[in-house]
Amino acid sequence: MEEDEREFAEFYAAAWGECLRIVMVSVADRPLAEDLVAEAFARAWGSWRKVRGLADPRAWVIRVAMNARVSWWRRHRREVTLGSQDGMAAGGQDLALDSSLVAALRRLPVRQREVIALRLLLDLDTATTAEMLGISGSTVTTHLHRAIGALRRDIPAFDDQELTQ
């Protein structure tokens, strides 16, 4: 058990930052992202014997974080906090993100966001992404292309700037 805890602690220390950054891309604010990631790591520890053996345990954490069901109460409290800090948010870290891209990403269906997160942000190959999501490689590719299509429609500038170079 101590060995498991040590191994988990090492994984947590090594993977937390990257998991948080990726979850932040699809979640609106940092406190929420941190809470989701903490919840996902807690669940990872709860299933550590399974998670440790996966092709990429980080992908498991990210997927769980993106789908975590947060307590209505905690979420409400967060909404309250956000509502009280709208002015601060305008100058906050979120603006460091490519706002049009991030906004468009956040409008994608969950499965497409999962594929983007694992395949592009975590840079997994198609086979590993498919394994982590429990879908086929061709389905990963389909979701990816649909996501790209949606982003092209949502952000015309993306199409103009990137594809005509």
């Binding site: 930052g17 891309v25 709860g46 409400h76 309250v80 592009l120 790209i148 990137e162």
Partner: protein, 211 residues
């Protein structure tokens, strides 16, 4: 490369910039805190399906210490086992701690809260009381205002160590004409699904909060 390949590469580059722009960060919770959180989940998973006599005993022990008698509703689906669907405990200082373990008898919980002097409306599993009017800025559903935020925090003081399914109410912080709205449900249907309580403020009225 076709257009999709170009777009994929471009998107990946831009996403990498977005991701990297967030910079380095270190976890605010140590690994031991995460493990402790997981253990609380495990305990909850064991407790939620059927509240055992041990829990009733533990609750009794707490009462013995605080010398306060909680109201509770026995769900009673298993003969010989003391099940407690929810518990209301008035804490020293006047706060009321509500624990909901099973979605059973919301009307009883509502009556109990009202009996404890908390104008309240309680619904389970997504039901709504159509007679209730949300309190501006501190509603259960919808965004809040800064003033509502302060009010909400005063009426529902945070209890960081509490598991989901627990909420604390400070009745003395309720504004004149204000009442409490609680809504509880399980998110998900798998074993271990979390009990969740939503909270907000409403205008007190006979039809909504009983007074």
């Amino acid at each position: 490369m076709n257009n999709d390949d170009h777009a994929l590469t471009a998107l990946q580059d831009r996403l990498a910039e977005v991701r990297d722009s967030l910079g380095e960060a270190h976890p605010s919770i140590p690994a031991s805190g995460i493990i402790a959180r997981a253990r609380r989940h495990r305990v909850r998973r064991r407790l939620i399906p059927a509240m055992t006599g041990a829990l009733a005993l533990a609750a009794g022990a707490t009462l013995a210490v605080t010398m306060l008698l909680p109201a509770s509703h026995p769900a009673g689906r298993q003969p010989g086992v003391q099940l407690t669907a929810w518990t209301v405990v008035r804490q020293p200082g006047g706060n009321v701690r509500v624990t909901i373990r099973e979605l059973h008898d919301p009307a009883g919980l509502q009556r109990r809260l009202r009996g404890d002097g908390v104008p309240a409306t309680v619904t389970f599993a997504g039901q709504q009381n159509p007679a209730c009017r949300p309190w501006p800025g501190a509603t259960l559903h919808g965004r809040s205002t800064p003033a509502g935020s302060t009010l909400f925090s005063n009426v529902f003081p945070p209890d960081p160590g509490a598991p989901s399914g627990v909420i604390v109410i400070r009745p003395s912080a309720l504004p004149n004409g204000g009442g409490v709205q609680l809504e509880a449900g399980f998110r998900g249907h798998r074993p271990g699904a979390l009990m969740e309580i939503g909270a907000g403020l409403v205008h007190a009225s006979r039809q909504c909060t009983g007074s």
